[in-house]
Amino acid sequence: MTPPIDQRQDDPERDIALAGEYVLGLLPIGERRAADARMVTDPAFAARVRDWQADLSNLDTRYAPVAVPAGLGLRIEARLFAGDMSVSRTSLWSSLAFWRGLALASLVAAAGLGALASGLLSPPADDAAPALVARLANPDSNIGLLASFDARSGALSFVPAAFAAEGEHALELWLVPADGAPISMGLVPGDGGLLRLDENLRGRIGEGAVLAVSLEPAGGSPTAGPTGPVLVSGSFARP
């Protein structure tokens, strides 16, 4: 398709048109790929492409700005800097295998927490079921959060109580059912660490239920699901 180099020199008109077609985006995918490859090896052709880009860039004024959905920028940052921000990739949210594996690991972790957790909880009243505890953690970081849930009062409390995001960000709590989309439980309380859950949410918390915290724009996720990275997560177990 692309002529040999010695012929290219003889046909500047063809190359000017081809570079223009490339910049306009008119080429079918095969020819477009061929032009991409040629730019790497043929500086003169690459220069023709750049010239067309400069020539045509005044047409960019025809693109009207469109408001970007809130949270998209954070999602990109999470993808770019995932390793160092100690966050899991957002795509993990859609991976059932990830959640199953996580729930299992957290159960094991929670088993060792009994002694710590029992000191945190208000003394259980006689026949009441003991509270459920979830240790929220992230294998890549040392941030940790202990959540305990009292089914009778619907109170979900956190240790440490002061666990909040800074500035333009908020921390949002999610309950992750075994087979469905995460359900928002609201923002992590910044003061006192106590959240009182409504009936609907209370009924969904039991052993093995997964709790997660994501980083969101101030005010919380603008959508029905988490938009920012997952900072910590863990599943409920009996201490």
Binding site: A17, G25, D55, V68
Partner: protein, 183 residues
């Protein structure tokens, strides 16, 4: 750059990103993303695809920030080029070319001096004036291709001409444009 860069000037932010300064990223995103989202929405015409494309585009921008050269292009033109290229790649991959376009290229045009064209640098500022020198329908075809990412197939259908005729028109129009812009 000749003037001291302001904090939110995209050229300045790109230079900080090139040095790995992560704090520059959200600032650049805030300053430029609605324009680039306008590009991906206009070309892809599908909100989900346009959002996915925007994510990929900003990943590229972060990685390629070091390639930006202020002498060669304005930062917005550079960013829009990345956004258009990515969107058109997605679009062309989505709709595989169904027809082989005839490779013949015989565009005898007595007014043209190809050697002269090759030597001059392009101007870039005169596109609207030069488009107005083209036949109106052909100028529109050039603009629809650039702005909306229309393919030869779509342009041929819109203007009710055979595909090869369309391609010949477009190529001839491109050569006329180039000649005008170098005047």
């Amino acid at each position: 750059m000749t003037t001291p860069a302001s904090e939110n000037d995209p050229a300045f932010l790109l230079s900080r990103m090139a040095l790995g300064d992560r704090k520059a990223f959200p600032l650049l995103f805030a300053a430029t993303s609605s324009k680039l989202f306008g590009v991906t929405m206009r070309i892809l015409k599908d909100r989900t695809q346009a959002e996915d494309a925007l994510q990929e585009i900003y990943l590229k921008i972060w990685r390629r920030a070091g390639d930006f050269s202020a002498d060669r292009a304005s930062p917005m033109a550079w960013l829009v080029t990345i956004a258009r290229n990515h969107s058109i790649d997605v679009l062309r991959a989505r709709r595989p070319a169904t027809v082989d376009i005839d490779e013949e290229f015989s565009l005898a045009d007595p007014g043209l001096d190809p050697e002269g064209l090759a030597l001059n640098r392009s101007q870039g500022r005169q596109i609207e004036r030069c488009l107005s020198e083209l036949d109106r329908v052909r100028a529109e075809a050039v603009v629809s291709a650039y702005v909306d990412g229309m393919s030869y197939q779509e342009l041929a259908e819109r203007h009710e001409v055979p595909l090869n005729t369309m391609r010949t028109w477009l190529r001839r129009s491109l050569l006329k444009l180039k000649e005008c812009m170098q005047r």
